[in-house]
Structures are given as structure tokens and as C-alpha cells.
């Protein structure tokens, strides 16, 4: 693990540049090397949770395919004229002479048109004489494909087949579940799991050595537990914990992002008192989070996990059920706050009922 000059944050500074530098999932490394050796590589779909290192691996793969030229990247803000009537859409594109990268879900309703535009552009620039080049295709990397609309995903089906001789798609997604089946079956799936706790712990220790500070095992383990196997989050937590207090004290809490602290607070407010007044108070907290652009689904998960941690196992099914239900409604509704609030109110009801007749077995859900 070698530091680079990509910034002050350890997450950037210690981002591996080649597959050899990746500290975990060595078998995946071999797999990617095997793929890169031949030109008949199919479209690829990299999927795995945030912070599992998909992006790094994709960059490494491109380097394996094209050599160092794939790393000479150019950032462009381009505007596309798409649709009918034509509409101008701004989009940030990252490109090398061999590939382009974009996040088409940024284009909202026009995502389908942008995707098609990019593919046509790349396909029309295909080398005329495929025998003259070592790699006879270009690559289009699309980020956050799980946020693409269904229409945009549908539109990729036949397009992927039609242009597969001259261009290859590398799709990236946090979760396969949100990718329509016909796209999954048109791609070689590359699953990138989160690193294990041990792997995270090892990376934290390596960074501490490189940075020259003392990291007691016990604190490294604490950070590992707190970051839910997300290395990016773990490194941020370690760095800001160190700024909070160093040398690390035995009882020092792991530094957490502000929004996580608010979620923990919401959960404890809900557990301690169930009343109208409390609901109003919780509501202001939800608002606070939403105005800071924290995604509502992340709030749902975080508050639920916190509630599950503190409440009795007996009401876990009821809590899970109402969390699952209201989080789902989020997808169909318009205003997140209503569903968050409904969840809070429902939880209070469940919890109060449980406390009130703790002797009776309670699973009530309607």
C-alpha cells in the first residue's frame, strides 16, 4: 500500500491504482486478469455495495485492457441536445482515447436518450480496420445503472446486442435487484462484495503505519464494527476520530457522520417517550436530515437498525414489518417526510402497546 498525491483524505490518498495494490478479494483480481487477456470479453456488470471497490476495479480492468493510455483522463462538461422537442442537457463525461464514463441517471427523465446518444457516438467512432488495432472495441462505463429508469434499461437490451462488436458496456450498480432481468442476462456478472471485517482492520492498520501513528487493535476493531464493512466510511471515521482525540482513549467513541448521529438521536427519542409532542420533535429532526440531502432510504435504514438494537427481540418482527412497509411507500409517494413520520408514529404505537401489556404476546400489524 503506497500513498499517492491524490489528496489529504486518506480515502483518496490510499486508493489503490492497480489490481496488485488491492488488499482484498485476490480471486477477483485473477478473474479480471483472465478476462482482459482476450478480445471477446462480453459486456460486464459490476455489482456490490457502496465502498466495496467497484470503481477501482473497473479502472484497473481498463488499464489491463488498454494499457496506461486508459488512465489519461479528460473531464468534460458537455451538453447534449436530445429528445423531441429538443432539450439541452448538461452532463459530465470522463474520457480517455479508448473509453468514456458517465453517470446517465443524472439526466433524470432524459436518461434513456443520453445513454443512446453516448452509445451511438462511441459506436460510430469504431476503428474501420479492426485488424490494425490490438483491442478492436471501445468501452462505455455507465455508473449507477440501478438508478436508471426502467425505460432506459429496456432501451439497452437490443442496443447492447447490436453494437457489441465495436463497443462493450461496463455497467456499475450497487445492487442487482434494481437491474431488469434482461440486462442481467446480457452481461457477465462481476460481484464485488464488501471487504470482510478482517480485511478492513488490516487496511486501517496499514494506513496507520504509513501515516506513522499508533492504532491500538481495540480501536481498529471498533472502527471496523462502526463502518459496516464500508472501507471508505471506515477510513473517514478513523481519520476524523484521530482529529477528535489522539492518542486514542480506551473509551473513545468512533467519530460518526453528523447525519448518523441525528438518526441515533431520533431512535432514542422514539424509545423514550411516545406522545404527540415527541412526534413533532422527531419531525423537525427528519426535516433537518432531508434538507441536508440525506436520502430518505438511508434514514429509514439507519433509524430502524438503531431501534432494533435497543428494542426487545420480541417486537423485532413488528418493527421490521412497519419499516419495510413505510420505506416501500416512499417509492410510490412524493414526499418523503410523510412516510418517515408515519413510520415514527406507527413505531410509537407498537412500542407503547408492547410496554403497556408486556405480558401478552404481541404481533399486531394491519
Amino acid at each position: 500500500m503506497k500513498p499517492n498525491n491524490r489528496g489529504l483524505l486518506w480515502v483518496d490518498k490510499y486508493r489503490p491504482g492497480t489490481l496488485d495494490e488491492m488488499d482484498f478479494h485476490l480471486e477477483l483480481k485473477e478473474r479480471l486478469e483472465g478476462m482482459a487477456q482476450r478480445a471477446d470479453i462480453p459486456h460486464l456488470l459490476f455489482h456490490g455495495p457502496p465502498g466495496s471497490g467497484k470503481r477501482t476495479r473497473v479502472s484497473c480492468l481498463l488499464r489491463l485492457i488498454y494499457g496506461p493510455a486508459a488512465e489519461k483522463l479528460k473531464v468534460e462538461h458537455r451538453s447534449f441536445k436530445v429528445g423531441d422537442p429538443p432539450k439541452e442537457i448538461e452532463m459530465t463525461i470522463l474520457s480517455s482515447i479508448h473509453h468514456i464514463e458517465a453517470n446517465p441517471s443524472d439526466a433524470g427523465f432524459s436518461d434513456r436518450l443520453i445513454v443512446q446518444e453516448l452509445i451511438k457516438e462511441i459506436a460510430s467512432n469504431a476503428p474501420l480496420d479492426v485488424t490494425a488495432v490490438r483491442v478492436p472495441f471501445k468501452v462505455i462505463v455507465l455508473h449507477e445503472v440501478d438508478s436508471l429508469s426502467r425505460t432506459a434499461q429496456q432501451a439497452l437490451r437490443r442496443t447492447m446486442e447490436k453494437y457489441s462488436r465495436t463497443c462493450r458496456l461496463i455497467l456499475m450498480a450497487d445492487s442487482l435487484t434494481k437491474i431488469i432481468e434482461p440486462l442481467r442476462s446480457r452481461c457477465n456478472l462481476v460481484r464485488v462484495p464488501s471487504p470482510s471485517e478482517k480485511e478492513i482492520c488490516d487496511v486501517l492498520q496499514k494506513v496507520s503505519k504509513e501515516e506513522g501513528f499508533e492504532l491500538p487493535d481495540q480501536f481498529a476493531v471498533k472502527v471496523t464494527k462502526a463502518c459496516s464493512r464500508n472501507l471508505r466510511r471506515g477510513l473517514l471515521q478513523l481519520q476524523s476520530s484521530k482529529m477528535d482525540n489522539y492518542p486514542f482513549a480506551e473509551d473513545q467513541p468512533v467519530s460518526r457522520a453528523d447525519w448518523e448521529l441525528v438518526c441515533i438521536d431520533i431512535a432514542s427519542l422514539l424509545m423514550r417517550e411516545q406522545s404527540n409532542k415527541r412526534l413533532l420533535l422527531v419531525r423537525t429532526r427528519f426535516y433537518e436530515l432531508l434538507t441536508h440531502a440525506i436520502p430518505a432510504d438511508a434514514i429509514f435504514e439507519s433509524v430502524t437498525m438503531e431501534l432494533l438494537r435497543s428494542a426487545d427481540q420480541e417486537i423485532a418482527p413488528a418493527i421490521c414489518e412497519c419499516a419495510a412497509e413505510y420505506e416501500h411507500r416512499l417509492r410510490q409517494g412524493q414526499k418523503a417526510i410523510i412516510h418517515l413520520e408515519a413510520f415514527a408514529a406507527r413505531f410509537m404505537q407498537i412500542y407503547k402497546e408492547y410496554i403497556d401489556n408486556q405480558y401478552s404476546m404481541l404481533i399486531d400489524d394491519d
Binding site: R31, G34, R38, A39, D40, I41, P42, H43, H47, P49, S52, D84, R112, V130, T131, V135, F137, T151, Q154, A155, R157, R158, E161, S164, R165, S175, L176, T177, E181, P182, R184, S185, R186, C187, N188, L189, R191, V192, P193, S194, S228, R229, D297, F300, E301, L308, Q313, A316, P317, C320, E321, A323, A324, E325, E327, H328, R331, I363, D365, D366
Partner: protein, 353 residues
């Protein structure tokens, strides 16, 4: 797509490289293959509008492309065939104008070239037609009528229920079947030979079961697995499990026993964590679990309890399709399963939703 020189063959992914070129190369769909062969033999003149429907990877697109390649010589293919798919603008306006514009252009009388009759119509292939809105389908129906003498339509879709009846009734309908094991097996063996891949008979059969008659997926799995072993070495079960993207049995087993045997919410949470953080798809887990529940008998669950759990899973699956959180949906299923397996006597409460 033309597979011309060697280099481009070497750089074509297997699914495209082994796409059937001739009508007769399309395996297993005997009824439609026979019908089209016959129509082509007679010069294609009396070809009806066609509607191909059926599950993914069964040869629908391949057959439509093979058909037009057999009725038209290569030079005029692009004048005579319009391929529209879900990537194209397909609102009403486009259906009216683009299709109209294409259909209107004259083609003249049927000609004979090299002893083959070239029919005097154009073909419009509308792939992924189930993604066309109802309104646009209605417009399409009128266009179809207006130009019925000079055009033939080939509509392709997965779900025939999404095609409006007046449109479907104007076409000769052909249902594409999932490919049976022997057929897929022959295809895969042939490809193994030509790509110099070593795989046992059982292994190919394993791929086929895992991909449920979707030959594209089977091919993709085979190619992807073949890259995990050094050239020429034998592919094993491990590679197939990785390549097919399924949830490992071990995780399924843990999820099941967390619910029924240990009845521990903590264990449910830890499996759900391992599924989500492992990057496994929650919907895949539910599908596999459902198969398991239906196929096997469990001492821990009676029929009623099983049904209650499957109903919960079905609901979670549909929520996932709407984009709901994987973690919360799986926790809900897990916690519910735990509760259901514990409450044996009280059957009516099992079904509360």
C-alpha cells in the same frame, strides 16, 4: 451483423458469435422455423404479419433477423428492413411518421434475382414491442392496415398480454419455448468444442438447470466461467456458481435455519448483512428460497405456515421490484419467518398482512 474477418470473430462475445444465422439454425422452435422456411421457399410473397413471443434467450430476435436475411439480398437489406426497438423513440408521433415514411417508399414489383424471388414488400421488425404504450399500439394498428399490401410487421415481445388484442389478432402468433435440456446441451457442447473449453457433461447440465432454458444466459455463464480457469483446464461447479450470480446454498441454509431452527433475530440480522454486504441480489435470494420451500418438506413448518411465509416473500419481492430497500425487506421476511415458525396453533394470525 456480419462476421467477416478473423479479427472480428475473435473479438465477438460468444452470445453474438453463436447467434443463429439461417432460419434453420434456430434450434427447437420447430413450428415457426418450419412455417418460415416454407414461406421463404415460396418466395416470401405470402408471408403474414408475425408475432413472436416467449421468454428471453429463446431465439426470437435471432429468427427475425435470419428471416429478413433470407428473403432479401444483402445489398437491399437496409432499404427493405426497418428495425425498431425499445431504444428508439416510439411514441405515437414516431409510429405515425417514421413507420409511415419508411412504408410509403415504393418497392415496385416482385423481382427475381439469381433464381430467387424478392418479394415486393418491406419488413418492419418491432423488437421489444411490449414496451410500446397502448396508445402507440393503437396508432400502429391503423398504420398496419393502411400499408398492409406493402409492409410486413414482425412484432417481438416477452409478454403477449401486453400487446393489445386488435394488433395481436392481425398477426400469425408464434410462441417460443424455453429450450429443453438436450437442445441447449448440444449447442453448449458444440461451442465448447469450437472454443476449446473443457467441461464435463454434468457441468453443462448444471449450467442449463441454473439458467432455466435461457440459452443466452447459459452461454454467458459458460463464457464467463471459462475465463476463470487457465486455458484448457476443466471448469468446475465453483466457477459456475460464481458466473451464474446465484446466492450460495450455504447462505440460503443459514437464512432458513435462522428463521426456523435457531429462531434467533440476531442470526437473521447477521445473514441479511452477509447477503447485502456480499453483493448478492435480494430478489435472487427470495426466488431460490421459494424454490427450496416448495420442493422440500420441513419438519419445522406445516403447509399453512409455509403458505403464510411464501405470501410474505411474494409481497417482499414485489416491493423490491418497486425499488424498496433490500435490507429492510429481507429483515421483514426473516423476522416474519421466525414468528410464523413459532406460532403453530394460532393459524389465523399467520396470514395477517
Amino acid at each position: 451483423m456480419d462476421i467477416g474477418d478473423r479479427a472480428s470473430v475473435l473479438s465477438t462475445p460468444w452470445v453474438e458469435k453463436y447467434r443463429p444465422v439461417k432460419i434453420k439454425d434456430v434450434a427447437h422452435q420447430t413450428e415457426v422455423v418450419a412455417a418460415l422456411e416454407q414461406a421463404v421457399e415460396r418466395g416470401g410473397g405470402n408471408l403474414p404479419h408475425l408475432l413472436f413471443y416467449g421468454p428471453p434467450g429463446t431465439g426470437k430476435t435471432s429468427l427475425a433477423l435470419a428471416l429478413v436475411r433470407e428473403i432479401f439480398p444483402k445489398e437491399i437489406l437496409s432499404q427493405r428492413v426497418l428495425e425498431l426497438n425499445a431504444s428508439d423513440e416510439r411514441g405515437i408521433r414516431v409510429v405515425r411518421e417514421k413507420i409511415k415514411g419508411f412504408a410509403q417508399g415504393a418497392v415496385g414489383q416482385a423481382k427475381v434475382k439469381d433464381g430467387k424471388t424478392i418479394p415486393s414488400f418491406k419488413v418492419i421488425i418491432l423488437d421489444e414491442a411490449d414496451a410500446v404504450t397502448g396508445e402507440a399500439q393503437t396508432a400502429l394498428r391503423r398504420t398496419m392496415e393502411t400499408y398492409s399490401t406493402v409492409t410486413r410487421f414482425v412484432l417481438i415481445c416477452n409478454y403477449i398480454s401486453r400487446i393489445i388484442a386488435p394488433l395481436a389478432s392481425r398477426c400469425a402468433k408464434f410462441r417460443f419455448q424455453p429450450l429443453p435440456t438436450e437442445v441447449s446441451f448440444n449447442r453448449l457442447s458444440m461451442i465448447c468444442k469450437s472454443e476449446q473449453v473443457t467441461a464435463s457433461e454434468d457441468l453443462l447440465k448444471l449450467i442449463i438447470t441454473r439458467t432455466n432454458g435461457d440459452l443466452r444466459k447459459a452461454l454467458m455463464t459458460l463464457q464467463s466461467a471459462s475465463r476463470m480457469v487457465p486455458h484448457g483446464s476443466e471448469i468446475g461447479d465453483k466457477e459456475i456458481a460464481l458466473a451464474s450470480g446465484e446466492v450460495p446454498q450455504e447462505l440460503l441454509e443459514r437464512f432458513r435455519s435462522a428463521m426456523f431452527a435457531d429462531s434467533s433475530f440476531e442470526n437473521v440480522q447477521s445473514v441479511v448483512d452477509d447477503v447485502v454486504l456480499g453483493g448478492y441480489p435480494a430478489d435472487g435470494l427470495l426466488h431460490q428460497l421459494c424454490d427450496l420451500l416448495v420442493e422440500e418438506d420441513y419438519a419445522e413448518l406445516d403447509e399453512l405456515q409455509k403458505s403464510a411465509l411464501i405470501m410474505k416473500m411474494a409481497r417482499a419481492e414485489s416491493c423490491l421490484a418497486d425499488g424498496a430497500s433490500e435490507r429492510l425487506q429481507l429483515l421483514d421476511v426473516g423476522a416474519r419467518g421466525m414468528y410464523i415458525s413459532k406460532s403453530r396453533e394460532n393459524s389465523s394470525s399467520l396470514f395477517k398482512v
